[in-house]
Symmetry: C2
């Protein structure tokens, strides 16, 4: 028997966003990796919105790239429109977003994966997780084709497919996405191994034939001239002219009226579907129900690719009966003649509440078994991919008998995400927001490489080229910053410019760097205006210039220092480990709620304990005293 | 209610090769057409070999194009290697073949469909065929989403999906293709309407990671410098250098030995799968079983696209247990390290024996319901597409209350295909061969446009541009031929050339046209050599020059005339209609077999009756006398 076909170091189950990153990371780190997914042609398929990034999510995508992941490169290749969201706010919360060709994105992911040497693929459905007799250590998987594939590490990323049920009005049927089968077997098998599962739901809007839309009554939303790429390796993007536009329109009171006629047949309202859905991605019926005072909601009409006229009606997610969706859609300005390719629908699926995983994403009950992506209760491609890359990394760390890599909340949104999941759990699909990151001023999308690429490289994941670019960027920033401190400008050189942006003029020469701190000043413009740009700037690789990068730091200087103090305080707490067998029930001077929650979550240290919902500052103080006495 | 969403002129069920052509034809002819298929992203998916054309099949593909279909254009766009097969034989049986990018082909088909104005699409599964209360006239379909779509004509093209069951070794499970669900419901519904169904099977080889193959020990098979395009609208193809190569290798005695170890677990040999399969596309186990004296079989390693390393192992179709396939594959030179993406498998599915359809492809039992493609018992993309285009045409003819379009056996391979199906039926998957066409000398791939484009245009299907090109081609042939007849060449002009190709030299000037008839002579070369080319040739649009086209006619002149006589004789018979209610059982002077077969098939005329298997010439004579007396 040729063992190399049936035996691997790491098996990744599922070729969605999570599985693709997991497989890429494990294989790039040198593990002989097998990716098993239902259909190879569906690798990297976007289940819903054909877009990557946005606020919070864009940060994650940049972090995945900084570590050496594939999402960013695929996005840059498949992007048809690039924007930077939240530009009116501070740069910490700017979020890059790319509209992607759906087909192009899947193709780009497939190509990224095919370019990795020791990554093998298999088209098949996993039916069973195999373990040793005790059910304590994973040994492999059994598939629909009846074959057993063995590996000491298995990463499970089956998304919305586990016992997926699709709902449209009163109709429902099994499916993982429309037109794709659900997958069965795994949940039962995990129950036998001691896991608990829950149900969640999510929804998607109708797809529409773009030829049937009247764009002339909609507002055009073109790409953004100063959008940046997703990958730190990308040097340019298609010009705004070469990008496609999205279109804005609104629902009307009539739309809402029509939608309401279907409420009595909506699975959400009849109770046919009572799993929890993503509060922040509500269906249109949820929106008109919850915000009944609003007489319109904005819709984004988004192209699905350069090679198709299909469009995505962002904001119109629904599981109302099809004829209701259809009639309602036709009351939206510009959609009077719309032809739907298919209605919106809701899907409910199994997930595994994430108190059952470690920070490494390895499960607590079965050694070598990792969970990543939507099955941990998240929603979104970026959230899934982030867990995927970390699970892939930690599977290999385990093979190497090295410590798991756990990103801190102060280091990355990915750290926030995983910490939130593990420490707080979730009872609705979890998605990232910048507000979830208390250290968000440190965690900018523009500095993800400075935060993470060195680590990625040390792990054998980020390439030498990536590391070199990061170092070169850092050097460019340092050198330029020093030059800017040493350079003064005269009133003649800059007053015109200062006046034009509405800030006070100079009465004597000043160091440039001081001017760059002023909120009104755009440092690139200032330097160009003063005729100094070429002289003082050392160019940084990538899509942001050194002055732009420095300016962000300068403007945040005060906050950043304060943040760093907070981080230290928190890290102090993280350095207080809590023993594995710590008996919270024996503590009668902490609240009952804290006792219960802490027993369930089993935090590794005081920092994590402090973030478990229901645990109060007073509980933590008690714990700290106790641990001090013990330690 | 907006009726335009739920009511259409023609509904096509299934977006495979047959459904795509049917929908394109109906919509291009002006019908408001709805294409319903399980998943829009799978439109135009090649289930098996990523190639179009070949001997016989290439003819069909060209005919579909000539009529105004989409297969040829998509093939030219997606082709990665073009060849002309059978070049060593006469030009009547030359067969164009293109290796295509699997993803690129599906994308090209989707784009062709999206470019058609009144074609709408829907992603959904049809569960039920709706009829009037009497079950005699189709009224629409009901889908998985519980919706009813109405149309007076419904074309059913569900391929291998109806109750599809996939087999690999002793494993089997439902599926329409691997990773795709089977479709259920339609067969039962057709049984209720009085249809009979049968089971057929087909198989596919493993997919392999091309990076794991050692091509250095294989024979390279590059593209062909004088291959022609599939569409008569295409003017050039990528250069041979820009095309990809296929690779040849062979199974070995060891391969066969390993394969035999799995015979006791093969669904073919254990009887688990006893539907009939395509005799001419046998599985590798069939081949070594039937041809046990052969110690090797040729395998073609074919690329799946420019953007993937996946390859298709043509010739290694199998449903043996996966480990047997795997070990056997690894005994093939160059495949010692091969990694399979998935094993080969066999699939069995429902089909509807085609005595239940008319020549128009409309069913005999339900008015307005058409069957096309694999569900009529054929195999192959081209065979499916051919039926699709004819069903689409005839659905619209029906709406127009016009006569159905039935191509004659002497007019097109498509005519042969449909006549064979309807008149002879099939009990194994039917595929086209040139030998099935008794008039094959008339039915060349190079003259499909001359045979069919005028008809296509008259129907409103072939574009004006297409017709103009055909007319221009015909004119170029006529003018050039006349010039060639009027031009003489001297021995000095051509003797060198004649000698070089090994035919006798001249002793006096002769008309060029005479030389062109000689089998050794390549007319283009001759004219170039004589310095006459530019002077005597009127260029034809498309990829074949006027002299090349004329030469083919010249070389076949004798045969062509004889063929034309035969055709007339046959057509004479076709002009003898047989009344609908003709009672064959009442004839006791024809054979019992003939009585039974003819009653089942109910041929429209004497010509068709003569082709029903089991009907003898003597039976036909009796019938003719009878009809003469009656008429
Ligand atoms: C209808 C719908 C609407 C959504 N709406 C939103 C939204 O509005 N906003 C948002 O942020 N996110 C939304 N999402 C969620 C987003 O698509 C997911 O969060 C993301 O795709 C999860 O990635 P994943 O890798 O975890 O799983 P998926 O992308 O679901 O990928 C799972 C993969 O695993 C494979 N697989 C499953 N089971 C098996 C098995 N047993 N064996 C082998 N392979 C298997 C599947 O074929 C698939 O390739 C929606 C998802 C769906 C389906
Ligand atoms: C495993 C396999 C091996 C094959 N091997 C060969 C070979 O070696 N040589 C050869 O010449 N041919 C082979 N074929 C056959 C070839 O693929 C088919 O002949 C050809 O694809 C038939 O085209 P079609 O349009 O009739 O059906 P298909 O291409 O099967 O398309 C059917 C379409 O209908 C859709 N559909 C099905 N049911 C429903 C429904 N209820 N509602 C809505 N949509 C529906 C499907 O999603 C699909 O899009 C093979 C096929 C398979 C599956």
């Amino acid at each position: 028997m040729h063992q190399d076909y049936f035996e691997h170091d790491v098996i990744v189950v599922g070729g969605g966003h999570s599985g693709s990153e997991a497989a890429a990371a494990a294989a790039n780190m040198g593990a002989d990796t097998l990716l098993i997914t239902m259909k190879l042609a569906d690798i990297g398929q976007m289940s819903c919105n054909p877009a990557i990034g946005g606020i919070g999510k864009g940060h994650i995508a940049r972090e995945i790239d900084a570590l050496g992941g594939i999402m960013g490169k695929a996005t840059d290749r498949a992007g048809i429109q690039f924007r930077m969201l939240n530009k009116s706010k501070g740069p910490a919360v700017w979020g890059p977003r790319a509209q992607c060709g759906r087909r192009a994105y899947a193709r780009a992911i497939r190509q990224e994966l095919e370019a990795i040497d020791n990554l093998k693929m298999r088209s098949d459905m996993v039916k069973e997780i195999l373990t040793d007799d005790a059910g304590e250590t994973v040994t492999g998987v059994r598939t629909n084709l009846g074959k057993e594939f063995r590996a000491p590490c298995v990463v499970l990323t089956t998304g919305t497919f586990s016992n997926g049920v699709i709902h449209v009005g009163e109709q429902n049927f099994g499916g993982g996405r429309i037109g794709e089968s659900a997958s069965h077997g795994i949940t039962g098998c995990l129950h036998d191994l001691g896991f608990e599962s829950g149900r969640l739901k999510t929804g998607t809007p109708p797809r529409v034939d773009g030829r049937s839309i009247d764009y002339s009554v909609m507002e055009k939303q073109p790409g953004d001239p100063d959008a940046t790429a997703f990958s730190f390796l990308t040097d340019d993007l298609p010009s705004v002219e070469a990008q496609l536009s999205c279109w804005l329109t609104d629902t009307t009171p009539e739309t809402h009226e029509v939608l309401r006629t279907g409420f009595d047949r909506s699975p959400m309202f009849t109770g046919a579907l009572d799993a929890d859905g993503p509060r922040y991605c509500p269906s249109i019926e949820d929106k008109i129900d919850r915000f009944s005072e609003k007489d319109h909601h904005q819709l984004f009409i988004e192209p699905e690719g350069r090679d198709t006229h299909e469009v995505y009606v962002n904001g119109f997610s629904s599981s109302l009966p099809e004829e209701v969706q259809f009639e309602a859609l036709r009351t939206v300005p510009g959609m009077e003649e719309a032809h739907m390719h298919r209605p919106g629908y809701a899907i409910e699926y199994d997930f595994f509440p994430p108190y059952q995983i470690e920070y490494s994403l390895e499960t607590k009950y079965v050694d070598g078994l990792f969970f990543a992506g939507q099955i941990n209760g998240t929603t979104g491609y970026e959230e899934a991919a982030a867990q995927g890359i970390m699970a892939g990394i930690n599977a290999v760390q385990k093979l190497r008998q090295a410590d798991p890599i756990v990103l801190k909340r102060s280091e990355a949104y990915i750290g926030v995400l995983i910490d939130d999941l593990v420490a707080k759990g979730t009872d609705e699909p979890y998605r990232m927001f910048t507000s979830r990151a208390e250290h968000r001023i440190l965690l900018r999308q523009d500095n993800a490489d400075q935060r993470l690429t060195e680590l990625g490289h040390k792990l054998g994941l980020a390439s030498k080229e990536r590391l070199d670019r990061t170092r070169e960027k850092e050097r460019a920033i340092d050198v330029t910053r020093e030059t800017l401190s040493d350079t003064t400008v005269s009133p003649q050189q800059v007053d015109d410019y200062l006046q034009s942006v509405g800030t006070s003029t100079l009465n004597q020469p000043r160091p440039v760097i001081e001017l760059c701190k002023r909120p009104e000043v755009d440092s690139e413009d200032l330097l160009r205006h003063a005729g100094l740009y070429d002289e003082v700037v050392t160019e940084a690789p990538g899509m942001l210039s050194a002055p732009r990068l420095i300016e962000i730091d300068l403007k945040y200087e005060g906050y950043i220092d304060r943040q760093k103090d907070m981080v230290e305080e928190m890290e102090e707490k993280e350095r207080w480990p809590i023993p594995d067998d710590f008996d919270y029930h024996a503590l009668d001077n902490i609240s009952i709620e804290a006792r219960q929650k802490l027993s369930k979550v089993e935090p590794d240290n005081l920092g994590q304990a402090s973030r478990v919902p229901g645990v109060r500052a007073s509980d933590i103080s008690v714990l700290m005293v106790l641990l001090k006495n013990e330690g």
